[in-house]
Symmetry: C2
Subunit: 414 residues, 2 copies
């Protein structure tokens, strides 16, 4: 090969790499984007992150242990990936204690549909396993990352607390806290953060989270704040100073980097590694290339929306996988894989038969986009109205009870 | 000039720069070294740090305001530098409130003589100004920086608390706290830390403190923890949630980088800049090239030392500025500027006339090193014995009282 030939080959290789890069999904705790209309390639993400797929085997094991069908989020691949879920199931079989840990970054007054997913699933886990749950609201994170005052981030945490409680958690088994206040209530929490702070260096958080020297020092240290609730010793009032009780963290898979770091440091601190169960992202109205985001109001259906707002947004923005015309749709059928209304039904329609019927008739072209959207609008109007009803009953006093550091009810004694 | 000539000139310049660098004093919060037998060049340090010299004018102003002579630490140049001290004096004249803030990193069970200096001076400031004082023990810092467990750093804080209290602070006007516990007692403290965390980026702390990417993330965030007590709003229980009360920080000048950073961020947060008053370093027994360090036991006289240990260490290690032989000493005289025993007397002998007599007779060769050391030994044996006596009266209950977040007595009402 001539020199020019080699140079051309190198050039071609570079272009190829660049194309591959552009088509690569991007997932970190702050940004999720995909170039594909079907969204993130989750099979690839499992390989990249090194987690395990939730397959039929683990679902069957779970059903035999809990003696009931699993939540449809599991059957439908909405929670699709895990780390050490088998360990948690074994603990449950052995009647040994574990707890649940999930959270929320309170960046907006109104939560949207996507924010419900981890909480709906966590409530189900709490009900079937009958275990304590801690919920972290990272108002400190939102203050550091967003153009928000500390007072505003703090206020949003209390607003969001009401939505979270409205999901129906058992008050006797749930401790809800926001970092800006809890840090000043529990020395053990700060002590565990310091322990993590000593184990992780700047190089590591740059690699894991993509931080740079232009980032504020608060961001650099924050991963330890999200890590600490994974350790039972952060909550001595719940766990009687035991540091050996492991947790299971239900979360969207973009939060996995925090917990990969946590799992890395846990054994060095004599703590248990958290187990994880990961969900897919909830797509924006515009389609699965990005996730629903509260900062883009047109991409989101909020839990504060009126029935009319829900109807208008779905009709106007929900990306359709149907044909351009009725004729085309009848001829070619709709594409459920990219149709946002169908995707939303997967998240919120619990009737498996009805969902399958919609999938079949929409794919064949029999069911038109308008009818599919109408079905979704009804489901969401009902869901949001019910949520608003439940939220209206969450008084400040109820919030105070959930957020009071206290003993929780424990199913297992050992 | 030929190419070789230019290269040689560049080479010469590099060697010159290297020599200049080697002769430069090095001062940061963790290391202080000087290549000079007389120690750090403090005049140069004032210029480098951009602080102001404590001159006769400010001493005279202070004496006229407080209506008594200043502490001999000021007269003798032991506290030699300041930032905004005039502002503090004006507040005092106007009967407007301010507070004192100082601290200690509890890295060793036994504190040494050098550790007493800021506390002795701070007590004097508290007595003459009649103002509240907060004292931070950075057990979190020592855990992050040293090969210490968190439990051990935490324990050392409580041990050192007894030595600090033994310095005679007024319990009604003094709040003593250690970070590992106070963080979990006061949400306002963490909130102010977050505010500083958002204002400072990694580049800045690398420049100010020399951190690198190999440092743990705890170190990167720590400067905000030392900054926060400068702000009255960190202590709502003392200052009734007021954020406009400024503080004066007495400290050794190696701590100045923390407070340069603090003064930089304060106005952006709507807080008052802290004023500072800086001391020189307390020299090691081996001489002023390094400061006394608890991690080098032979460099230090500890507050736990017996009279015999004090005597033996001074006789064996205290660097002498006297002649090699009695004859040489008589002929040439002693050099008080490098003589460690004389330096120590400057810190601990309050009788100006006697000190001047010693300086005069030692310099002339009349007073021999042995007698100078004998005089020092007596002073230190008395001082250490008295400290031990006072410390023995500091019960756990007294420590608990000092460390209880509570209202403090305030001289000024406005």
């Amino acid at each position: 090969m001539s020199v020019e030939g080699v140079e051309q080959a190198v050039q071609d290789l570079k272009v190829e790499e660049k194309n591959a890069e552009e088509q690569e999904d991007f997932v970190d705790p702050w940004n999720v984007t995909s170039s594909s209309e079907t969204g993130i390639n989750y099979e690839k993400l499992i390989v990249k992150f090194g987690s395990s797929k939730i397959d039929q085997e683990i679902i069957s094991r779970m059903e035999s242990i809990i003696n009931q069908p699993v939540h449809f989020f599991l059957r439908r691949g909405i929670f699709f990936s895990h780390r050490d879920m088998h360990t948690i199931l074994t603990l449950y079989e052995q009647k040994k204690p574990f707890f649940l840990y999930t959270g929320r970054g309170p960046s907006s007054e109104a939560m949207h549909l996507g924010h419900l997913i981890p909480f709906v699933f966590t409530k189900w886990l709490q009900d079937v396993f009958n275990v304590p749950l801690v919920i972290q609201m990272t108002d400190d994170e939102k203050f550091l990352w967003k153009d928000l005052t500390l007072e505003e981030a703090n206020r949003l945490a209390y607003e969001n607390a009401k939505d979270i409680i409205a999901c129906g958690f058992d008050q006797e088994k749930t401790f809800l806290f926001n970092n800006l206040d809890f840090m000043g209530q529990c020395p053990s929490f700060y002590k565990n953060i310091c322990r993590v702070h000593k184990c992780v260096n700047v190089n590591q958080v740059k690699n894991i989270f993509g931080f740079t020297d232009a980032d504020c020092i608060g961001k650099i240290g924050f991963p330890a704040v999200q890590a600490a609730p994974s350790f039972s010793s952060s909550f001595p009032f719940i766990f009687n100073d035991r540091k050996d009780i492991p947790c299971l963290i239900p979360c969207a898979i973009d939060q996995d980097p925090y917990f990969r770091m946590t799992r890395d440091v846990a054994p060095r601190l004599g703590f248990q590694k958290p187990a994880l169960i990961h969900s897919v992202f909830f797509p924006a109205l515009q389609g699965a290339k990005s996730k629903m985001s509260a900062s883009d109001v047109n991409s989101s259906i909020f839990l504060t929306d009126t029935p009319k707002q829900i109807k208008d947004k779905i009709n106007k923005y929900a990306f359709s996988g149907g044909g351009q015309t009725v004729e085309e749709h009848r001829a070619k059928g709709g594409n459920c894989d990219v149709d946002v209304s169908f995707q939303y039904l997967k998240f919120f329609m619990d009737n498996d038969e009805r969902l399958e019927e919609i999938r079949r008739t929409y794919s064949s072209g029999e069911l038109l986009t308008g009818f599919l959207k109408k079905e979704l609008i009804e489901v969401l109007q009902k869901l949001v109205a019910e949520h608003q009803q439940k939220r209206s009953q969450v008084t400040d006093e109820v919030v105070r009870q959930f957020m009071q550091p206290r003993k929780l009810k424990f199913a297992f004694s050992s």
